[in-house]
Amino acid sequence: MSEDVENNEELERRLRSALRAVDPGEGFAPRVLARIAAEPAHATRPARAGAVASWLAFGLAACVVLAVLLAHEWQARRLEQGREARRQLIEALRVTDEKLDLAYRAVNTHGSGAPAEHSGV
């Protein structure tokens, strides 16, 4: 029992010795500040975040530009298709009218008594 008490006192003594206050001496604070200033790790984190933000902005801008280009391309293609459809429509109606005219002329000629014409309505 007394042996345990002795061990505890010894441990306590060693701890007090190890944890005693030590004066860091003059210039401790400037040294710490200088070391903090020189530490590169502190600057890395904000720089990396800035790069990520830049890439995100670039990606977003690229997406917007791509979307605008695609919309423009779609619009141009739609315009071309519409103009072509309009041209074909006019052409189709023109051909239709032309052939109706052909029939009309034949009927008209027949009506006027020209020979070698046959028509039935």
Partner: protein, 191 residues
């Protein structure tokens, strides 16, 4: 001097008669037109137009309502579901196979199709057949087969088309106006 627009009366009257006729079995107003791919190579000019409902709608969107002829065209195609044209011009007489034309003609023998007009000119060697498709008393399609020595044309219009409106567009679609006699007040040609 008033230019006559009544020249389609000869065609409109039978259309009206057919429209008022008894109901017939529903026909397929859309014809199955051959490709005529082989002919396109031999023809000096070829027209191959297939405008279905969506393309007609697209085309209508590109018609300028502020222009009278565009507005008239828009009204003309309002009831249409499709326009299909095959036309080939050759530099020699009858270079096209009559069999393929007959193939289309056979489709027009189906119930519902009525031949309105057939004109055969032995002098000009031309033949024009005009058919109308009638469904329940309503004309819902038109087909024209025109055979000329150096050209043959097939037109298939699905839907109801106003021929009088089409005629009013004459001269505005690139078709030169015919020198028709002007009508007097009594409807007879002026001298």
């Amino acid at each position: 001097m008033k230019v006559s627009y009544s020249k389609w009366r000869w065609l409109l009257a039978p259309v009206a008669a057919l429209t008022a006729s008894a109901a017939l079995a529903a026909p397929a107003a859309l014809l199955n037109l051959p490709d005529f791919d082989a002919l396109a190579g031999k023809a000096t000019e070829s027209v191959n137009i297939s405008l279905d409902t969506s393309l007609l709608g697209l085309a209508a969107g590109f018609l300028d309502s502020s222009k009278p002829e565009d507005q008239a065209t828009r009204e003309l195609i309002a009831g249409l579901k499709g326009i299909y044209v095959r036309s080939f011009t050759f530099d020699e007489d009858f270079a096209y196979p009559a069999a393929q034309v007959e193939l289309v003609r056979k489709q027009l023998a189906a119930p519902g199709w009525q031949r309105l007009v057939q004109t055969i000119s032995t002098r000009d060697r031309t033949r024009v057949d005009i058919y109308v498709s009638v469904d329940r008393g309503i004309a819902n399609g038109l087909a024209i087969i025109a055979s000329e020595p150096r050209q043959f044309t097939i037109v298939n219009i699905v839907g109801s088309i106003d021929l009088a409106k089409l005629h009013r567009l004459e001269g505005k679609l690139g078709v030169p106006k015919l020198d028709l006699p002007a009508e007097g007040k009594d409807g007879k040609p002026e001298k």
